[in-house]
């Protein structure tokens, strides 16, 4: 079926709420078409596709997490025989590949962005719904292909998630495992490219009237910048993988020295994708945090435009620093890449300043989403600072390929994809399903994960400085590494306990639902204006859009609406300050005046 979608007609007529009922009756867009599994197979609704992405990505996250636990058990003893050396190589390859390619990115730009971006810009769907569905099917089949790797003759790929040539060439890594790994990434690479195209088109062409670029929520801005990064980076990866496959099977020698090729070329191609990839994974989660902090501080975001330009600066610089992963090859321009790498700290520092400014003197509501955001701030700060250390070539030479690097990127990526990612899950879960997750269980989840996180990764910095190389399954007994490794293993199991709590939370919240209402957090952005879950094609009507937080403006008509960064509001407790509504005051979940949408 094809739906012809009309825009709705409410606008600024908030003094006459009765108009809404008439409009709703005239503009119902009931979902038609198949139901059940056929609905899942045929849906082009961005919400169904986004939810499919998120569920698939979280399942893969748990699978990769179990792989990490097995590796940590192996490393708890210097000479453990739990895993063979080759099995260990396969495990760290698959753990990294699943987490990087199939969880952290797709959860954000496939899942959260798919579900949230059209809602935040007031669009009925993504710009290309069928291309969107194809993106998901390519992601799912790519994920299945990656998992199939475990079951082929010779075992899974064992050359690390970066697949450096010549290790990944046919002579050094024969067998189907490497081929299947390459094909899985070709599928998911195309999926990401299509999603990037869809996001850009949706944001450029389907915004509601009055939703100018500088009124878009920061999450949407970050997804736009991420989509551009995807379009820059992923085609390079896909090309490199096709060349690698040709080397393995068609007799080319693009990356082999014997035939006149260059292994360094593979590293250039991979890291031209690989370093922007880190920010493809990080920027969406920066956006998540920037959505949550203002709502749970009951303030507008501090320095809106600074946030937007800092995001652009981080993204731009991230594409000019790829060879800082190649310092020790001896054939890259150290000053150029070191300078650009160090420069990234500046816009990131602006973001931290603005995040703290957003919370400063706010009325903080210590719910699970805010706790996870604060966890993100602390974790990412540590990862960022050690990143500055690694951007300096003399220091990088010292710790390159040691556990120091492992600790650094886990703190960066765990800080973003896990802390900020699950902050987003707790924050938007009521919008997804119209139900609340249990907050006390969310806090258990947070504290177990947060404490486990530090116990797991801080010892790895020490191990790196002591000289323990990454990607080893056994180590000498006389170097004092075991106690640090045991601590790291204990921390990993604490994190696992935290995620067991999340599973229980999801289960109990599904079995014994607590209805959320449409706007349980007194949210700022457009997605909180519609019902929870949103109807087919999202909106029965829209509020006037006069700032970057139209829902909050609509629900608080007495508070001044001023453009980004200039919002001057009376301080809480002073005359003229707006009344608190929503979650804190318990005045109903639809905002203060009950004029929000009805289901």
């Amino acid at each position: 079926m094809t739906d012809l979608i009309d825009t709705t007609l409410t606008g600024g007529d908030i003094g006459h709420p009765g108009v809404f009922e008439e409009v709703e009756a005239a503009h119902e867009h009931p979902e038609h078409g198949p139901t059940g599994i056929l609905k899942w197979l045929t849906s082009t609704d961005h919400k169904v596709i986004g939810m499919s992405y998120m569920i698939t990505a979280v399942v893969l996250f748990y699978i990769a997490g179990v792989l990490a636990l097995v590796m940590r058990l192996q490393l708890a003893s210097p000479t453990s025989s739990l895993l063979s050396l080759s099995a260990y190589n396969q495990l760290f390859t698959m753990h990294g590949s699943i987490m990087m390619y199939l969880f952290a990115g797709p959860f954000a730009f496939g899942g959260l962005a798919n579900f949230i971006v059209p809602l935040q810009v007031g669009a009925p769907d993504m710009a290309f719904p069928r291309l969107n569905a194809l993106s998901y099917w390519l992601f799912l089949t790519g994920s299945i292909t990656m998992i199939m790797d475990f079951f082929v003759r010779g075992g899974a790929a064992a050359f690390g998630w970066v697949a450096y040539a010549p290790l990944s060439e046919a002579t050094n890594s024969p067998g189907l495992g490497g081929d299947i790994w390459i094909m899985a990434l070709v599928l998911t690479g195309f999926s990401a490219i299509f999603t990037g195209v869809n996001l850009v088109a949706t944001i450029f062409y389907l915004r509601a009237p009055g939703m100018t670029m500088f009124r878009m929520p920061i999450f949407t801005w970050n997804m736009l910048v991420t989509a551009i990064l995807i379009l820059i980076a992923f085609p390079v990866l896909t090309s490199a993988l096709v060349m690698l496959f040709c080397d393995r099977h068609f007799g080319t020698h693009i990356f082999t020295v014997q035939g006149g090729g260059s292994p360094i070329l593979y590293q250039h191609l991979f890291w031209f994708f690989g370093h922007p990839e880190v920010y493809i994974l990080a920027l969406p989660y920066f956006g998540v945090v920037t959505e949550i902090l203002p709502v749970f501080s009951r303030k507008p975001v501090f320095g809106y435009k600074g946030m937007v330009f800092a995001t652009m600066a981080i993204a731009a610089l991230s594409t000019g620093v790829w060879a800082h992963h190649m310092f020790t090859t001896g054939v890259v321009l150290l000053p150029f890449f070191s300078l650009l790498s160090l420069l990234i700290a500046v816009p990131t520092g602006i973001k931290f300043f603005n995040w703290i400014g957003t919370m400063w003197r706010g009325q903080l509501t210590m719910k699970a989403p805010l706790l996870f955001c604060i966890g993100f701030l602390i974790a990412f700060l540590m990862g960022g600072i050690t990143g500055v250390i690694l951007a300096s070539p003399p220091l990088d030479f010292f710790v390159h390929d040691t556990y120091f690097v492992v600790a650094h990127f886990h703190q960066v990526l765990f800080g973003t994809a896990v802390f900020a990612g699950f902050a987003g899950l707790y924050y938007w879960y009521p919008k997804f399903f119209g139900r609340m997750l249990r907050d006390h269980l969310g806090k258990w989840h947070f504290w177990l994960t947060f404490i486990g996180f530090w116990i797991t990764f801080m010892p790895q910095y020490v191990l790196g400085l002591m000289g323990m190389p990454r990607r080893v399954a056994t180590y000498p007994t006389n170097l004092g590494w075991q106690s640090w490794n045991i601590a790291s293993t204990v921390g990993a199991f604490l994190i696992a306990a935290g995620f067991a709590v999340l599973l229980y939370n999801l289960w109990i919240s599904w079995r014994e639902p607590i209805l959320a209402g449409d706007n349980p957090w007194d949210g700022h952005t457009l997605e909180w204006f519609t019902t929870s879950p949103p109807p087919h094609h999202n909106y029965l009507h829209l509020p006037p859009i006069r700032s970057e937080r139209p829902t909050w403006d609509y629900n608080h008509p007495d508070a001044p609406t001023v453009g980004h960064g200039k919002q001057v509001r009376p301080r809480p407790g002073t005359p003229g300050a707006p009344a608190l509504v929503g979650a804190r005051s318990g005045e109903g979940s639809n905002g203060s005046d009950g004029r929000s949408t009805t289901r």
Binding site: M1, T8, G11, L138, L206, F272, T319, H536
Partner: protein
């Protein structure tokens, strides 16, 4: 579309500048080509948007004073369900399996891809199916 075009032209300007600096300081070809390619990725759509912005002027979503009422009318036609993306995805899956497991996979892959392309095209022409 002015800000959108400036945004993309900014991408082009950054990569053009960095590409030149990188080339004259390193003479490294692979990185230079990727930076120049990224420059064009911003330049082509950015110039296209700027061209149309100059012809069309501001759209409703570009105007800070635009009201929802002004946008009344049809937004677009959206497909509500379609089996063909799934079939095309299966075709792509079978295609990559052909590279790994054997060329015979190409036959079901071709059948799936061709049927998906024909089905999606007819679906668009008829106004929808499923």
């Amino acid at each position: 579309m002015k800000i959108e075009s400036y945004f993309l032209l900014g991408v082009a300007a950054f990569f053009g500048l960095i590409g030149i600096i990188y080339w004259v300081t390193s003479y490294e070809q692979a990185g230079t080509m990727m930076l120049i390619g990224s420059c064009f990725l911003g330049l082509l759509p950015g110039a296209y948007y700027l061209f149309w912005h100059r012809r069309m002027g501001n759209r409703l979503e570009d105007r800070p004073d635009a009201t929802i009422e002004e946008g009344a009318g049809r937004v677009d036609a959206f497909p509500s369900s379609s089996i063909w993306p799934f079939v095309l995805g299966l075709g792509a899956f079978a295609t990559v399996l052909a590279f790994a497991f054997g060329v015979w996979f190409i036959f079901p892959a071709a059948a799936l891809i061709i049927s998906a392309l024909v089905g999606a095209t007819l679906e668009s022409r008829r106004g929808g199916t499923v």
